[in-house]
Subunit: 274 residues, 3 copies
């Protein structure tokens, strides 16, 4: 499967929204048991998710559940209800140490799901500080960034420019990429501002994120396309790679292409794009 | 006491400036024994501060002294002169390791002031690198950022845009907030540029700083108000929290409010603002 | 010797380009054995460099070779060919740990060049994460940033604004300066865009870089001047330092100068500039 770009949230207690997610263009569905579901509704949500996972056709979407965190005392009940339901994997929220991933890994082993995908959602100052040690934990698929919780954690203020999360975004991407993990960007909260979303998805791609959370089906296409290189980018990349291979045959590792210096590093960027 | 926003410097050897500080609207006074006082004037400054601390009425201001650093060979004399003078606490400058905080903590214990407040002023590249370990030291009240010294330390150049300190500011805030500490932003050097100051105070608030140093009494009000949410922000925050509580009763943890998605994370930001 | 500003790359297998570099205004020449030279051309490049090092007059330029990395299986052959050729030092590319510097240091000892200068080129997410531990290795002269490789490593996208490398640049500078090392900025790839280069060199200086790579002789002068303070800056710096020394005689460590507060930290910046 290709790298998933769009991760669409659906509240775990809404069969209707899960069904809408299942027919959306999202690359991954996030069936939520955590902050999108109030405490009183968690048992119902577990049952709804289990049934949906067994009945619905998710196509080639990644089907993930956002669990409650290790410190919540709800995690064991989440896993007891969901084990064996055929989910692809889990998102562990509010992660602040590698020990929490270790704990989930252990619980999944005991639940007979040793190969379930695990994403770590980092959304606090402490989580960002520990991002490198978390990313180094061997069984992880990706780091995800929870920007709204992070801003609450640093007692900052969310702005349109998002300067308050630039450091955390880059720190998280750098940690994730250092260990060959996916890096998933935070939600875009104003779900009617599609232009702003599109700009932010493209920006997240430049920063090194591989995908982005969505909170509404109408965000999905723009996130997918925001992480997609344009036709012009692809054409340039192909031309540069071809020119590089031609030069390389003659022992030349660095050359000029339309006023830019091309070497191995640039070619590597182009190959990733293709 | 509420979180202090404005930390006003007064040179320790100027009784007149200390008196002006005492009647200002600053939330905290910083009586300086360090870089604001030349070596020859330090003994006089210690005596002036001791007498001022005993004679002046500081209202509900936090009364702090910026000591000389652990590496300066002046710290023992500072504490010998000030112990028991009734100060609220101390700012340790040029901190580069948790061991320095440990050392001050030990000296304060010996001086009979085990409960004095300690802030760590980080103002070098090495201090910023060690910010997480410093913030983790158990008895600290806050981290403070010395931007001018930091720029000298990295051999950079201070600019109006302040790109050269954005990384360090965010690194320091993230470390401070990871351990539930206050985070105090650097001075604004052009003390006649009140508009620039106001912009910078508001920006520092978005980044997660809880307060900011002042070098002139005319800066105090703008720093206080820069960290204060506007009436419109407060009204919105109250409406969001009310709506969240109403939804929560019905098992709903995520809902729509004026085109934005509201969940626990957003509500936490709003509660902090209130 | 003064701090070198411009580090000009020449492919190691091009005697002609090495000769052009030798007569350029670059402060340091980087004779490349790594990505600028295809695998088949490496033996020839080693011979060309050895001969050039022995025959050409490099004036007071620093004469460096960019070796192949520790993981490349080419490094021993590089050093066997170059030891004793009279080079000033080496740039180790793709460094991701202090152990790699240790390994080169050991090899240089064995090759009879214990005092050769070593720069570490960091150009991956993991390298940036380990920048502090690498910088702390005792025998290093500087950290260098490989921006194009770094962008490939985080799977980001190179933009004109360079937001995607701001974090890594500041992290690298902070690590380098924490251990009194030089910090050399990445190349500017569009070698015909001299205005953009000049802007970027000046910006790199504000961030704390001490110099910058060049990929074309026409970039050298602009890099040299971009790291040079202007006449007005120098005049202001001299006036501030004089005023500070005058005040200091009277016990005053902080004073006002043209609407700005001057203290030890500002004076330290000014002294570095001079």
């Amino acid at each position: 499967m290709n790298t998933p770009r769009s991760f669409l949230f659906s509240p775990g207690n809404s069969r209707r929204k899960i069904e809408k997610g299942a027919v959306s263009a999202a690359h991954a569905l996030v069936l939520d048991l955590e902050d999108g579901v109030a405490l009183s509704a968690k048992p119902e949500a577990r049952a709804v998710i289990r049934q949906a996972a067994q009945e619905l056709d998710f196509g080639d979407k990644l089907c993930l559940v956002r669990l409650n965190g290790v410190k919540s005392a709800l995690l064991n009940d989440d896993l007891a209800a969901l084990a064996g339901a055929g989910l692809d994997g889990y998102i562990l929220p509010k992660v602040e140490s590698a020990a929490e991933i270790q704990q989930l890994h252990q619980l999944l082993n005991e639940a007979g799901e040793p190969d379930a995908i695990i994403y770590a959602l980092l959304e606090s100052a402490l989580g960002v500080i520990h991002a490198p040690e978390i990313a180094a934990f061997p069984t992880l698929r990706g780091l995800m960034f929870g920007g709204e919780d992070f801003v609450a954690s640093i007692k900052g203020k969310a702005t349109a420019e998002r300067s308050e999360i630039l450091y955390a975004r880059s720190a998280l991407v750098t940690a994730a990429r250092a260990y060959q993990l996916e890096a998933i960007d935070t939600i875009y909260i104003d779900y009617d501002d599609l232009e702003g979303l599109s700009r932010e998805a493209k920006f997240a791609r430049t920063l090194g994120f591989s995908g982005k959370f969505c909170i509404h089906p109408q965000q999905v296409e723009l996130v997918n396309s925001g992480f997609q290189p344009s036709a012009a980018e692809i054409a340039t990349a192909q031309a540069i790679v071809s020119a590089y291979e031609e030069h390389f045959k003659h022992g030349i590792g660095v050359f000029s292409f339309e006023g830019r210096m091309i070497d191995e590093a640039v070619v590597q960027q182009m190959r990733q794009l293709l």
